[in-house]
Symmetry: C2
Subunit: 312 residues, 2 copies
């Protein structure tokens, strides 16, 4: 913890005056990164332009709002990269860090030029601030009990796990995670072959929810189905159209359940449909073949939340 | 009509043998466009890379599936551009054209190279086929009665108009239009300052719904509000969080109504909130600031459809 001191007050600010990161430095200070080959820049480029961190890699987060969400959610920052134009946002982030349990190590606040920043950023109009965070390691059990509340207790609702099985578009994946948190899901699974909820695009589309909600990535479907069975969690399969032989009675949506959402083009794999305890379809006009995958998942999560509230 | 003859049979195919457009031409035929400066290529480039057609401009549609939807919806094709790799899709589209009222003028099936096609396409992985269609001109009244059914009759449901007031992202706009059609909306309005539902990105995100559902673009909000009032249509404003002084009773969602959806960042303008007969918010967890705009609109349209069905 010694190296993780909060810059904007509280900790350590009496014995040592706090730096003034937002003092509006016009000239690049001596420690500004000016080489494209700098190892930090390379790490940021990989994290901000990749498809999500592999085991041991850092989670790349771009933009002041999302970084603030990450800090507030208690993620540990490994480095912060700030360009001239991002300097103004730094103080806000350091303030958030000082208010949370996490800190930002002073030695890991790196400066660079706007031009070099743009060369590592993953967005078209970069805001001049990015961070690398140590990725959380969620266990399967975390998915079922939700995130620990501030007082250390867990939410008391029955488990509701949103499972994405083959969702390809990172924007859709992020949207599902955002809606999952909004509608009280306790966790999210992205099976093998699904876009990574921690990829930069999905993170942005999740508006930060992927930084808070327990997320398990890359699980194989048979393993997941077996685990759910062992834990007594019912499997609900979302489909575009109810098949003719579908049980017509709407399933009971209270109790522990996992909602499976399939890929944009192909829906759910047969193994999931076979294993499902119930099938859910959203009634809609015949002219429309299907809904957007993020929308379909969101409507079903909304419906589940509704039913749980009504019958609670 | 003389110049709009269907190529794959029915009209004119007895007196003149049908061309074989899908005969798998390997070499570029003599009429292949090979110049970047060709006026048709320029028109396609504008239509496929723009932000939506202005008055009098053609509607650009890319990809076999979406072109087929356009043809089936009865839109009149002005030109079809096919590259070597798109040739295989052509017959399917001409078949759809022969089955619909619209045709594809033979003289307006233009060929070009894959390379030149890529230079006008709006997608990263172009599928080698694109079309320009004459844009439909929808009147305000069309929004209220929905699209004419195949037998010429109109749908009998009460008007349900989805109004996007400042939605910026074309993907979100397309998603709203898709869900609007799925949940039985009779029409869609994109007010001035909203991304164009007929822009290439929104068209794709709508999965063709923007080609079928009555769409009015670029209306000024005060004009729209006045029209709705004159027609006796209630205004429902969607907000992220119910304000403290909101009428707590959920509004009656049957009857003629217009659902207003605001911008991703700023929500609805004050003039809409002032004019609204009721305010709708989706209950959600406090941690989540808001839902994706496309998702929020979809959930509310779903809820409206639900209520109408339940109480019909």
């Amino acid at each position: 913890m010694a190296r993780r001191l909060s810059l904007s007050g509280r900790e350590g600010s009496t014995s040592r005056p706090a730096a003034k990161p937002s003092a509006g430095l016009r000239e690049a200070p001596a420690d500004t990164i000016t080489s494209r080959d700098n190892k930090w820049l390379k790490m940021f480029r990989t994290a901000l332009r990749g498809t999500g961190p592999t085991a041991g890699e850092s989670l790349g987060v771009e933009g002041p709002k999302l970084i603030e969400e990450a800090v507030r959610s208690g993620l540990e920052a490994e480095a912060l990269l700030v360009s001239e134009s991002g300097e103004a946002e730094l103080s806000r982030i350091l303030r958030a860090a000082s208010e949370s349990d996490s800190g930002v190590p002073r030695s890991r606040i790196l400066r660079t030029t706007d031009k070099l920043f743009a060369s590592v950023a993953g967005t078209e109009a970069p805001q001049g601030i990015a961070a690398l965070f140590r990725a959380r390691e969620w266990e399967f059990d975390d998915l079922l009990r939700g995130r620990a509340a501030r007082d250390g207790g867990y939410r008391s609702e029955a488990a509701l796990v949103a499972v994405m099985a083959g969702v390809q578009d990172p924007g859709n994946v992020g949207t599902v995670v955002r809606s999952a948190e909004a509608f009280g899901a306790t966790g999210v699974v992205a099976t093998r072959g699904t876009a990574d909820p921690w990829s930069p695009k999905a993170l942005r589309a999740s508006a930060g929810s992927a930084l808070r909600l327990p997320v398990v990535r890359g699980m194989a479907i048979p393993v997941l189905l077996a685990q759910l069975r062992v834990m007594g969690i019912r499997v609900i399969a979302a489909v575009s159209r109810a098949p003719d032989n579908a049980k017509l009675e709407p399933p009971d949506l209270r109790g522990k359940l996992a909602l499976f959402i399939g890929s944009e083009g192909g829906g759910l794999p047969a193994e999931v449909l076979r294993a499902a305890d119930a099938i859910l379809a959203i009634p809609m006009r015949a002219e429309v073949e299907s809904l957007n995958a993020g929308v379909a998942a969101s409507v079903l999560l909304y419906e589940i939340a509704n039913e749980r509230r009504a019958k609670a």
